[in-house]
């Protein structure tokens, strides 16, 4: 009883505020990703993209969202109603959950407290990310299954097999990074790169494999087989309408944002400001300003990754199913294994 009374309410408040801010930012970023996606798609096809709603089309995401909200909510007769609603909810939830372990900056001093700009610095950070990403396929599976539609089910099966196949090389490529840092903690992984060489330069092949797998995990082109508009009529969200469809699409964009953040964190130094010594900077302009600059730096890296995601989407056609499986099992896994073994040998030799 006495222990219960000793709850640190400041701590709870701090985390609640941090969580709401991060969720808000994720939603905002996802919203504007849709606009950027359409803009970049336009530019790559010699068009302008949406530019009528507000200056330069700034209000387009609001208009799109408003449209989705006002559409009729349809649940097919033959669908399993509970699972049908659960599908988009799970997709959204798992998309958001990964952001918990990403360090968005170092610490700030607010009202005498040292606030870590990370929701939970758990010692199995990388494993947690894997677990949540693997959960993400449940959104697709449940959505596809409960629609009671052949195309949706087919798409869901594709999605599940794709995510499982590409999780393997993703994990193997990460093991090499974990050998370098010796820790699963996200903060430790960033700490190892802070004011030092980014993991990308030690692990270019590992990064490449991770990147390809991240594309597959996000169901983005060229790996968008689960939604394949032209073959499966939009795949697992075929029967969905209104904001339930919006949730699925939104979850996809949040996934893109989060996986960009993960890639930036693991391979490109996370919140480290490039070409600047962060500790010296903190000493000269104060810890809080430095932390904000670090958050900005991370977001610039994320923005570049998001642009890359979009760039690839509007360049490459979708893989055939057999190409997808061949690439995953016969190309990426052997490459990831070789990369892992070489890293292991080099790490052992240097430790001597």
């Amino acid at each position: 009883m006495i222990n219960l009374l000793q709850i640190d309410f400041g701590f709870i408040l701090e985390k609640v505020i941090l969580i709401s801010v991060i969720i808000g930012i994720s939603l905002f970023v996802a919203m504007y990703e849709t606009l950027v996606e359409r803009k970049v798609a336009g530019w790559m096809q010699d068009r302008y993209g949406p530019n009528r709603t507000g200056p330069l089309g700034i209000l387009q995401p609001l208009a799109d969202g408003g449209k989705l909200f006002f559409k009729e909510e349809i649940i097919p007769n033959a669908a399993n109603r509970v699972l049908f609603v659960l599908g988009p909810a799970v997709a959204m939830l798992t998309a958001m959950m990964t952001s918990a372990v990403i360090p968005w900056g170092s610490q700030m001093e607010i009202a005498g407290r040292t606030v870590q700009l990370q929701i939970a610095d758990i010692n199995i950070g990388v494993l947690y990310i894997f677990a949540v990403v693997a959960l993400g396929v449940y959104g697709i599976m449940i959505g596809g299954w409960s629609s009671n539609n052949k195309f949706s089910l087919l798409a869901a099966m594709r999605g599940a097999s794709q995510v499982i196949s590409y999780e393997l090389p993703m994990g193997l490529s990460l093991i090499a990074v974990l050998m370098l840092t010796g820790s699963l903690k996200m903060s430790a992984i960033v700490g190892a790169q802070l004011d030092s060489v980014y993991h990308f330069f030690y692990q270019p092949l590992g990064f490449l494999i991770f990147l390809v797998c991240a594309f597959a995990e996000c169901n983005r082109t060229p790996f968008d087989l689960p939604e394949a508009e032209s073959e499966l009529n939009f795949g697992y969200h075929q029967e969905y309408s209104s904001m339930k469809l919006g949730f699925f699409l939104f979850a996809e964009y949040i996934n893109m944002f989060i996986s960009s953040a993960v890639m930036a964190t693991i391979y490109f130094g996370g919140y480290d400001i490039p070409f600047v010594n962060d500790t010296n900077l903190a000493a000269s302009i104060g810890q809080n300003t430095t932390a904000l600059l670090q958050v900005l730096s991370l977001f610039v890296k994320i923005a570049l990754f998001i642009f890359f995601f979009i760039w690839v989407r509007w360049t490459i056609p979708r893989f055939r199913y057999d190409q997808l499986m061949n690439l995953g099992w016969k190309k990426l896994i052997p490459l990831a294994l070789v990369n892992m073994i070489i890293t292991a040998i080099v790490v052992l030799m240097l430790n001597k």
């Binding site: 970049v40 530019w43 790559m44 010699d46 068009r47 360049t315 490459i316 690439l327």
Partner: protein, 182 residues
């Protein structure tokens, strides 16, 4: 067989090497192309602000012509209605009364003249059939309407503005027609 051009390319059917089967180089090439397109000039015409010019032979909405003094040229001979393959034109003739010489050029005129723009196929046969140069197709098109009856254009809608009372509108309506005749 003798080749007509040297553009035909032998298809390479060799199995892909391991590096090729990762598709990396080809993807990089493709991304280079799309990146180049980002900086290219956009082909979009921003419609309400910018408009593409019609071709000089464009056949649009009909105009009933007047002569230099602003008298209607149409004599309701019915040749346009006869030539019309879509049967879009109807008219009623009337005789010119004394004192109406400033309104109608000849003794007979069209009291009612209607073109159904939903039937019209804008072939321009009416313009070719007209012996009096009274009808021609302009460089505008029929604007959208909510009702079918809005597409039945009567004489008031079709008649060109008066050249003396409203010279600017007349000039604009006349448009490129003079150039086209040459």
């Amino acid at each position: 067989m003798e080749r007509l051009t040297d553009k035909a390319k032998q298809v390479d059917r060799r199995p892909m090497t391991f590096l090729e089967s990762l598709y990396l180089w080809n993807i990089a090439k493709g991304m280079g192309i799309t990146l180049k397109h980002i900086f290219k000039k956009k082909v979009t015409i921003q419609y309400p602000e910018e408009r593409r010019e019609f071709s000089p032979v464009f056949r649009g909405l009909h105009v009933l012509n007047r002569d230099e003094e602003g008298r209607e040229r149409c004599t309701a001979c019915g040749l346009c209605a006869l030539s019309c393959p879509a049967e879009a034109i109807t008219m009623e003739a009337a005789e010119r009364q004394p004192g109406e010489e400033h309104l109608y050029r000849e003794e007979k005129y069209a009291a009612r003249y209607e073109i159904n723009m939903l039937r019209c196929i804008f072939c321009g046969f009416c313009e070719e059939a007209c012996p009096k140069d009274a009808i021609y197709l302009s460089e505008t098109f029929a604007p959208a309407n909510y009702q079918r009856k809005g597409f039945i254009y009567n004489k008031q809608d079709l008649l060109i503005p008066h050249p003396k009372e409203n010279p600017e509108d007349y000039k604009r309506a006349k448009g490129e027609i003079e150039n086209r005749k040459k």
